[in-house]
Each structure stands twice: as C-alpha cells, then as structure tokens.
Amino acid sequence: MGDPVNAVFSSWSIPISPSVGLLLSLIFYLRGWLRLQFQVPNRFPIWRLLAFTAGLGTIFVAIASPLDAFAGLLLQIHMIQHLLLMMLAPPLILAGAPFLPILSGLPRWFMREVLGPLLVWKPIKRIGRTLIHPLFSGTAFAASNLLWHIPPLYELALSSPGWHQVEHVSFVFTGLLFWWPLVQPWPSRPVWPRWTMIPYLLVADLQNTALAGFLSFYDRVLYPSYERAPRLFGSSPLEEQGLAGTIMWVPGSIMFLVPAAIIAIRFLSPKPGIRPSEVAGIRPQQSRETEIPQLLRRIGLQPRHATGPFDLFTIPIIGGILRSKFFRRGMQATMFLLAIAIAADGFMGPQTSPMNLAGVLPWTHWRGITVIALLTAGNFFCMVCPFTFVRDIGRRLLPARWAWPRPLRTKWLAALLIALYLWAYEGFSLWNSPWLTAWVIVGYFLAAFLIDGFFRGATFCKYVCPIGQFHFVQSLVSPFEVKIRSADVCRTCKTFDCIRGRETQRGCELELFQPKKKSNFDCTFCLDCAHACPHDNVGLLAVIPGKDLWNGEQRSSLGRFANRLDLAVLVLTLVFGALVNAAGMITPVAGLVYQAQIVFGLPRPVIIAVFLLIGMILVPGLLVYGAGILSRKLGRISVPLPAVISDFAMTLVPLGFGMWIAHLVFHLFTGSHTPIPVIQRVANDLNLPVLGKPDWAIASWAFPQLLDFEIIILQAALLGSLYAAWKVARRYGSTTGRSGLLFAPWSLLCLLFFLIAIWIVFQPMDMRGTLIS
C-alpha cells in the first residue's frame, strides 16, 4: 500500500508554537522592512529581506521536515538538523539586520510603552553588550556545542521532547551570538578589530574539529539510544556515528573557514579611496550619528504624532457589511426567528435538555460564542440582539412616552436581576429544563416589549437587561470600541447629531455623547451614532483592551467610576458570579449542595440561595470592604471608601471575564456538536427527513489541552487585573511606595480569586448540555 520512500519524505509536521513564532517574526520584520526600505533604501536592500526569510525558513525546515521526524532514529540526520540550527540559520537571520526592522514592525504603542523603556534601560544594555562580546559569544557557542554532545545530556534531549526543544533553542541562541560579531548586523558596531575574527573563527573550528574527530573515530557507540534504535537503512550504529562526525567536520569546517578566508583576503586587499556609489552620483549614506536617532524616532522609541488606530469599518466588504443597517436588521430578524424556534421547541419538544434546542443553543453555544466575540472583537451580540426587534414593535404599538423613574436610573436593578438569574439558573436547573428556558425567553421578550413600549429611549437596554449589562461590563476589555476618529472634527461640530439624531436617523438612545464617551460601557454597538454623524467621524476603532478600567475620567452618561457604587456592585456581581456559576457545576460543590439538601431537608432553590448569598454577596462583600479599608489606611489617602471601592472594583473585570471565558469555552468545546442531532430531530419532527436520522453518539471538540487554555486565560486575566489595580493605585498614591501599599490588598484579593478559579477548573465539571451529563 504505502511506499516507504514516500512515507519518509512526507514525514512533515508543523509544530504550532515555533511556527507561529517564526511567522510573527517574519510579519514584523516584513512590516518594518517595508517602512525602512522606503526611508533608508541603501541600508535595507531586498537581499536583506531574502536573507532573513531564508534564515527563518532554515529553522522551519530543521524542526518541521523529515529531518526532525528521523532525528531520534538516525544520528547523521540529527547532526544535519543541528548544523542547520547553529551554522546556517543564524548568519542568514543576522544578515537581514533584523534589529531595526523588527522593532519598526512592532505596534507603535507596544514599542513606546512596553519595549522602549526596557531597551534603553542600562542593565539591559549592559547584558546585551556582554552577550555579543566576541569573548562571551564564542565561549557560549563552544560550550553549547560541547555540552549537548556529552552522552547524558544528548540522551536527555532524545528522551524528552521538552529538553529537545531546549537544546534547539540554545543552539539557535548561541548561534546568533556567535555569528553576531562576524556578520555585525547594522547598526551594531564591532567590539574588536575585524582581523580578530580570523582567530575567532579558527578557534571555533578547532573545537568543532576536535568533537567531530572524536565522533568519527571513536570505536564505540557514544549514544545508547542510537544503538538500540531500529536499523532503517542497513547501516550499523557505528557507521552512522562516523557519518555524523564527518557531517559535523566537513560542512562545519567549511562554514568556519570560508568566512575566515574572506575576512583575511579583504583585510589584506588595498582599501579603495572613493566609494563607487559616490562616483556614480548616488547620495552618500547619512552618518550613523544622525541616521539612528531619526530611525529610532520613527519606530516609536521617542514620542511622535500617532497615525490613528485601526478602524474595522475600513476593511473592504466587511466594513461595509458591519455598517449596513440592512445587515443589522437582517441579523436581528434571524436571531428573533431562532429565538422563536428555540422557545417553540422548549415548549413542545422532548424535555431532555441535550435533545432540545432550548437545552443546547442558549446555554452552551450562544454563551460560549458571545464571550469569544467579546474577547476578540466587541459587543456584537447587542448589535444583533433579537430583543431589539421586539422593542421596536413595542414602540410602534404602545405610547412609549414616559421617562424611566429617576430612582431606577442606576444599575442597582440590573445587578439584582443578574443575581436573580444566577440563582434561578442553578436553583431551578434552567439548563436542564427546556420548558423553563422557553418561559425565560418569552418573559424576556415580554419585558423588552412592555418596558420600551411605555418608556422613552433604550430604557430596557440601559437599566434592565441583565444580558446587556453582562456584555457592557465584559466589553470593557474588548479590543474594539465605537469611537470618534478625530477630536478636531467634533470640536467644530455644532449639531451634535450623534446624540440628538436627525430627521431620518435617531441618535444614541443610551445617551452616550461620542466625544465624551470613554469606553464600551452602555454601548450596544447599534451604530446609530455612526449613521447620524454628518462628518462620518465615528468608527469601530481598535483600542488597548481594558485601558478604561483605570482612568478616572468623566464619561458621558456615566460620570466617574469613583462616583458610581451601583456600577461597582454590578461589576462585583458579575465577577464573583462567574466564580459561583462555575463552582456550582463541579463535583465537590455539587456534592456539598446535595448533602445540604439532605441534612437540612430544604428544597434546592433555598440551598442555592444560601450558597449564592455566602459565595456571591457576603464573602466577596467582606473581602472588597476589607481591601478598601486596608488600602485607604496603608496608602494614607482621604478619598471616601465608596469611591476607592468603586474604582478598584472595576479592576476586577479582567478576572471575572477570564473566569467566564474559561468556563463557557469549556462547555462550548465539550458540547460543540450537540446541535447537529437536535436539528436533525427537529427536522424529523416537522416531517422533513432531509437531514437524516439523528445520531446521538456525537463527537466533540473537547481535547485534553482545553485545561491548558483555561490556565493560560486565567493567568492573562490575573495579569490584566493586577495591572489595572496598579494603575488605579498609582493614580491615588502620592509616591511609588504609597501606591504599592494601596495596591497590596487588592492584589491579594486578585490572587485569592485566581487560586479559587484555578481550583475550580481542575475539578471534574458537569458536562451540561450533553448526553454525558
């Protein structure tokens, strides 16, 4: 059937993480090279790009081709792989002079805010200078080469994929260091005179020759793994070892001796008096002293005028679709019909949750997809919300003229509704009851219809809808925001159509005035403001996720976070709600709830109410209160306690969102295929057997590394929350030390939350919405 030769040559596999790293390096290099090639073409000709690409390509071939697949079986193949990583890839990469192009290709804010201060920090500079000093780089290269060929270390790399990767990384890294003084990538300057590179290379060749000679002539097999390995091509292990030594010796020595010869010839050749480029009338290159500062300024190491953030509306076709009212209405209508179908199946279909649309789509898929959308883009669910459809019908049929009562114009009601929802979800096992789920949907439609039918504006969205509040809060860390493109345009605007609206287009119903809007909070992505703006000055712009969590600015319609305890309570409900919602599904907590039911003889809703009261209100309330008091005392600030709590509560948003993502994405993957047989069942119930009979033994996208993802996302969330808390502490603290003391209690709270979240994801979790549950 199979041809072994074909099988050998088809033994390619793409290691995801290193390949992504190589691809990103190439993208950043290419982006920077294009800029620099335009600005200083003499420094960055096309061959540099080709050399850099070839260098990365060499690494890819070494780790993804059959060389890697057979390295564990054949020593000579392993030797070729190492030669590529040490001797070929590094000089090619350095020939691309990658330093400036990559820095230039990185996002400007990242260069300015993150990498810039580190690159100009003296200790880092000192480390960099040491690393590329020929004495260090030559020694490191030789040490790496020799150490990894000592049998115990070589065997370690052969037996452990992790150590094998460490070996490869050390080869590439020391290779880059070794070739640095030889290639001297621009704009670095040589430490030693050029002629010293001849002995530098000769010494390197000496150690290489000694090692290669030892491998070639040693009369026993050095590495036991190759002695035990199956014989593939008839040669003995000793012959293969000799061949590996020869490969190391001959091509290795060529790589050292050819550059040494070239340097020697150049050193001995007479120096030209006039540069050929100057004879040909080409503008001489700028001096290094004037050129480099200019370039550093251009790549963002020094402040410069920003070019403006990325705007989703500018993407061809996709931008147009997103802006289109027809698209939005169409999506809302589709979602509305889907909601009707779910409710109908919930009432009339089988009451086994994984066999019913109401049991799988709202609880597993919709929630999972929504958090992914929030994480990668923004509040796109509100954009296509099916309830908007009903709200608009309500406005046409009912008077819609009263103002929402002033005491209710806060988030207290929404926070209460979210707590009620979390209680009902667990207490009445909503996820396990299609019938109750259908009633929740109907109730929701009715509430949207009546509230917006009697009250003006988007009252339901702004003050009532718990789903909307969930999206508003989580979208604070989304990477896109509906935002003005240019403040100058708004300054000259006299009509304020974005909030007031025009005859044919209403303005923002949530009372967000675009020039003063600071985050995604309360924004439904309806784009009414974008359509109303006569200057086309509203876009869907890329922002730094979470940047609004720590600034204390005045916001349109919201005021300052510090003055909004109701917002803080809403946020805390969702943050700690994430924890208790996930905890309710793990075996230890579910067991505890069950035991409590038996011991106290109380119905499940009562036990769940107590559980939520403790886990979501009492304990978090005390912890937040304690953190607030402690931070005020330690930081010696006179700001009122509610203001401190309100400000710091916002910084917990990333952690809460991280927990929601980890939890809901877990369910999305474990129940990925559940709608397929349910849709087949619905079609059969409707006498439409075109989709075939439902097969309930379905596959799933669940994979063991799902837990890796959860751990990573929770750690990213922890870092996000800590960073936000630090920024708030810096705003309050008069000195760095004071800020540290202010920050300490909140950082401990974040850490505690993180540890509980990690404990939860390590527990066996109920596979809700699947037949396994």
Partner: protein, 198 residues
C-alpha cells in the same frame, strides 16, 4: 495593516487551539522478531505515568528490514492482577469526552505522528501499576502478536503536571516590575524630582 492584524489574530488563535504534537518514538518498550516481522515498540513519555501516553510501532520485514506500511495493527492494554484499577487517576476534565477509558482493541494508525513509518495512537492508562500491552499485527495471511509489560507510575498531582503553564503570571509580573524600574530610572534621569504618578 489589516492583513497583518488578521494574521496575528490567526496566529494567536492557532496558538491557543494548538494540540500537543505527539512525539514519535520515545522509549523502546520492545524490540524483536515475531513471525515474519521485526517490531520496535515505543512509548512517549519514556517514564510512564497514568493518563495519556503515546504508543508507536515500527514494523519491518524481518528478512530485509524494509518498513512495512500495509499492516493492520491494534493495541490491547490489560491491567495485571495486582493493580487497583478502581482508583482511577485524575484526568483533565475534558478528557472523558473523547478518550475511552477501556483501553482494548485500539487501532494504531499510520500518520499518527510526524514519522509516517510508524503506526501509533494515544492510549489512556486509567491507573498506575503493571499493565500488559499486547500488539496484534495482521498483514495479508500473516498474524503476529507482541506482549510487553509496562510499569506505570501514578499520575503527577494536577498542579505539578501543569507547572510550566503557571510560569506565565510570575514571568509577566517580573517583566512588569523590571519595566517599571527602567521607566522610573529613565524619568529620574530626565527629571531628578520625579516621583509622581504617571
């Protein structure tokens, strides 16, 4: 610009959904002749713990050592009497979805790993102890069986099994602290009276 962002997002997405690439080979558990075949059986990781392991087989013609790629290979894993199989080891929560706990009659596939000469599959060992691994090979009219004993250690404690992932937060915090020091030193160099919030 757009392409670059899209590619970065795609790369990040790939990175997050990247499955662990099963390594080929690993420790040799058996090597020898059986019937008309020479078989070499590998397991990865080399020191076996309860949980998921990678089992691969290189099948060669006994006479000329040519790799054989047209056989049907299955793995059977049975616990030895001394094992306490009731004490199932901890598994990542999602594992139960698509990995069978009954490790018998597991088909070994060509192209399972990067080395296309090897037959292999991922096998779940539910508990520690001694396990008998039987490999059954069918090729045309020929059939052969190999048996070897695996010594399986208990699964490491969950947090220990994932220790490398828990380095992200400390590394991030360390990077941030260094960044802040660098930033403040730079600011102090420019303005010696600097100690105000940004």
């Amino acid at each position: 610009m757009t392409t670059m962002r899209a590619t970065i997002i795609l790369c990040c997405a790939l990175l997050t959904v990247a499955r662990m690439a099963w390594a080929d080979g690993g420790a040799i558990q058996f090597q020898g002749d059986t019937g008309a075949f020479r078989a070499t059986l590998f397991t990865q990781p080399p020191i076996l713990h309860a949980g998921l392991i990678d089992v691969t087989l290189l099948l060669q013609d006994r006479s000329n050592l040519n790799p054989l790629l047209d056989a049907k290979v299955t793995f059977d894993l049975t616990p030895q009497e001394s094992n306490d199989v009731q004490q199932t080891q901890w598994m990542p929560p999602a594992c139960a979805m698509n990995k069978t706990v009954d490790p018998t009659d597991i088909p070994a596939k060509l192209g399972h790993g990067e080395n296309r000469l090897l037959y292999g599959n991922v096998v779940q060992i539910p508990a520690s102890g001694h396990w008998k691994l039987k490999v059954i090979v069918h090729r045309g009219a020929e059939t052969a069986e190999i048996e070897t004993l695996l010594n399986v250690a208990p699964a490491p404690l969950p947090p220990l099994a994932y220790w490398h992932l828990f380095l992200i937060a400390p590394a991030g915090i360390l990077g941030f602290v260094l960044h802040q020091i660098a930033r403040e030193q730079r600011a102090k160099r420019i303005n010696p009276a600097f100690d105000t919030p940004p």
